[in-house]
Symmetry: C2
Subunit: 98 residues, 2 copies
Amino acid sequence: MRVRTPTDFGLMIRRARRARGLTQQQLARAAAVGRQWIVEIEAGKPRAELGMVLRTLATLDLSLTMHGEGIPEVRETGRPIEAMDLQAVLDAHRRTSR
Amino acid sequence: MRVRTPTDFGLMIRRARRARGLTQQQLARAAAVGRQWIVEIEAGKPRAELGMVLRTLATLDLSLTMHGEGIPEVRETGRPIEAMDLQAVLDAHRRTSR
DNA sequence: GGGAATTGTAGCCGTTCGGCGACTTTTGGG
DNA sequence: CCCAAAAGTCGCCGAACGGCTACAATTCCC
């Protein structure tokens, strides 16, 4: 899911925290931040420190991916991926296997 | 590409800025931050403010995506993708086709 | 509905931020 | 090689940070 604003980060963190059944206190301890900081980040604090935010995401097993011109997609092998019709490959697989 | 640390953000920002042929000064003005702040963020400053970082990414047309339990994926189809061994599929394809 | 757990607020404190101006160092095109 | 542009460093400043304690409000379960 796309994240554009501090508020987005807050909502995501809250969702993930609840999905894992953690209290703010527990998350705070695990991520080594103050409990009030969790309150604020979940409310979308724009001036929160980047490092703490990333630590919190890691604690919640959340990962971030960046996209855009100049940003390589996943593992660069140097050798370009050979173009092929994936749909055809999958169709063939469906017919063949089983 | 995955981003885990403030250093990752710094590298990405630098790559994107250069890919667009911008100077630190130009990026700073466009993102409404100080030039020195660009120097620091590109060096991986961990305590940089989240909001400014996001503004800078937006200025560079970079987007962030979050993944993890409790975070919905875009384009939800409802029907989960059937698990399969992609490597095996591709190997079979390589053997079969041609 | 009541009491405990959870969440949100308020104020204090030492620390760091980020903008700015003024340099110095590095880079790269002619 | 040269020099101007770009990038990096330093110190000053007012402002905000984040941890903390204490308290208020909300939520949830029995």
